[in-house]
């Protein structure tokens, strides 16, 4: 079992609709996996199932050799599964810097010291890394949508995950900010495996080693970037035709 994440036959139904249907997925430590597919393909559903904020109606999820299918989201986070949301989730009434500090889940003593010293410096670096400078003391609720997306990425990184699930981190960002994001993603250490959901295909193609394509809740393709670019199934999925 060298897989960090092993998803088997995972499914989620809403009444008659199968938002996700029998999907298998493997992520090894340090992997860069892109996850693409048209709107409603089930990408966010898959992320939510892995993170635990949604319960599957079928299938199994193993993380680091351990069955986490029934584990609460907070427990999974503590095991090392970090994430961002498609709709950025931040703590509106806390300053941006405190958002990162709370997300870092520091032991009590270090958090207190963090009011001044090292953790605070680290949090500031994380903010700068995602392209947020000069807003450390701004309440997160006063940030723009794009800034909140950047902030949530810094918060997810602060948890030092071994698997990072990113749901459209480039959505709503301006081209220069996408550049910052691309170089940040490229600079992340291989101690963290990344599952990147993105409609911004250039970003995914530049970042990922392998790409998985979903369509109507089903897995239609997994391959390298060149394979994916030339895959007829992928073209068909994006043309809105069932593969």
């Amino acid at each position: 079992m060298s897989d960090l994440l092993a998803v088997d036959g995972l499914g989620r139904r809403y009444g008659d609709l199968a938002a996700l249907d029998g999907v298998d997925l493997r992520v090894a430590p340090g992997d860069r996996l892109g996850l693409i597919g048209p709107n409603g393909a089930g990408k966010s559903t898959l992320l939510n199932l892995i993170a635990g904020s949604l319960r599957p109606t079928a299938g199994r999820i193993r993380f680091d050799g351990r069955d986490v299918t029934r584990l609460a989201p907070a427990r999974r986070a503590r095991l090392g599964i970090g994430r961002t949301h498609q709709h950025p989730a931040v703590w509106a009434s806390l300053p941006a810097l405190d958002n990162v500090l709370v997300a870092a889940r520091l032991p009590w003593g270090r958090f207190r010291a963090g009011r001044r010293a090292k953790p605070r410096e680290h949090a500031r670096e994380l903010l700068a890394g995602v392209g947020l400078t000069g807003v450390e003391q701004t309440l997160a609720g006063a940030l723009s949508h794009g800034q909140r997306r950047q902030l949530e990425l810094a918060m997810a990184l602060a948890g030092e995950p071994r698997l990072l699930l990113l749901d459209e981190p480039a959505a709503g960002l301006a081209p220069p900010e996408v550049e910052v994001l691309a170089s940040l993603l490229a600079s992340l250490p291989l101690t963290v495996a990344i599952l990147l959901v993105e409609h911004h295909l250039d970003l995914v193609y530049g970042f990922a080693d392998r790409i998985t394509v979903l369509h109507s809740g089903r897995h239609v393709h997994t391959g390298t970037v060149p394979e994916t670019r030339s895959s007829p199934e992928v073209a068909a999925a994006y043309a809105g035709v069932a593969p």
């Binding site: 907070a74 970090g82 994430r83 889940r105 918060m155």
Partner: protein, 318 residues
């Protein structure tokens, strides 16, 4: 209002500095009223901790308040005459009550919390009215002996001494809560209120944090119950009725739900308004029965004119 808000860190010490000399300025009647306001203010602070800071809107803090009051009254009747002992026992009883009922509260959200806590409050009041062997039912418990705050100190047999004792207890308890809320604990509670999903995604046990807040608020309410007995020398089920819950929630909304000091000020405003109206004889008769109506009007005005209350903090999207 922004000036008021900017002065918030200084507000609490300043408030205490203003209140302290009142013991020598006011007459007995006004002193007694102010003492009662402080007691309800402490209860309101516990409601603000839950409603505004932790995001659990409650109508049920009268439950640990009653539990604390009956605990203190029972101790008085068994000749335990040290105020601090009564206070700690009442706070512990209120906290224990909250620990036991926490599973009912901390997993619910929004209006459901209001309904569950309302039920807990009503249930506690009903038990207080029926469990005659312990509570003497609707007759209530007399607890005549005035306590001494600490062994060796004078007994609280004047209104002024009682006022100073209550003021000291409220100042210490609210002061400690304010310090705790400025620590990381405060950030964790506000984060849990702002975005639970993100808290979970960051690995924080939200229900655990809310349980701690709920138990702490129960301890504060229990302590307020002990002060009630010290002031009134009596407790009956009516001390924790729905009208008190509503009055206190109104005080919290007026004060700005996120602010404990606001809750104290709100309690002052609400109680003063109620008592002042009740003593008028407009429209050719006493207004005593119409206070709820006027308070309701005050509530609506407040929601429209001061949506964040007197001292409420700016939060999301403003």
């Amino acid at each position: 209002m922004s000036i008021l808000r900017r002065l918030t860190p200084l507000g609490f010490p300043a408030l205490i500095v203003v209140l302290l000399p009142m013991a020598w300025v006011l007459d007995d009647y006004a002193t007694k009223t102010l003492t009662s306001i402080l007691v309800l203010g402490l209860l309101a602070a516990s409601v603000a901790l839950l409603t505004g800071v932790a995001g659990l809107p409650t109508l049920g803090q009268t439950a640990p308040y009653l539990v604390g009051a009956y605990t203190a009254a029972t101790l008085v009747r068994h000749d335990v005459s040290i105020g601090v002992v009564q206070l700690l026992a009442a706070a512990a009883a209120g906290a224990l009550f909250s620990l036991v009922t926490a599973p009912l509260v901390v997993y619910a959200r929004g209006v459901v919390v209001l309904m569950i806590t309302l039920a807990l409050g009503e249930l506690t009041m009903t038990v207080a009215g029926r469990w005659k062997s312990v509570t003497h039912g609707t007759d209530g418990l007399l607890a005549f002996a005035a306590p001494a705050p600490l062994p060796g100190l004078v007994t609280l047999d004047t209104d002024r001494a009682t006022y100073l004792y209550v003021l000291t207890v409220v100042a210490v308890l609210v002061g400690v809560m304010l310090l705790v809320l400025r620590s990381p604990a405060g950030a964790l509670l506000r984060a849990a209120r702002d975005g639970e999903a993100r808290m979970r995604a960051s690995g924080h046990p939200v229900a655990g944090y809310l349980t701690v807040a709920y138990v702490a608020a129960g301890g504060l309410a229990g302590a307020a119950g002990s002060l009630l007995v010290t002031v009134e020398r009596y407790v009956s089920p009516g001390a924790g009725g729905f009208d008190i819950s509503a009055l206190v929630l109104l005080a919290v909304v007026i004060g700005g739900a996120t602010s404990l000091v606001g809750a104290l000020l709100g309690a002052g405003l609400v109680v003063a308004t109620r008592d002042w109206i009740a003593s008028r004889d407009w429209f050719g008769g006493s207004m005593a029965g119409h206070a709820p109506l006027v308070l309701g009007g005050l509530f609506i005005l407040c929601v429209y004119l001061l949506p964040r209350g007197l001292l409420g903090k700016r939060t999301a999207h403003e």
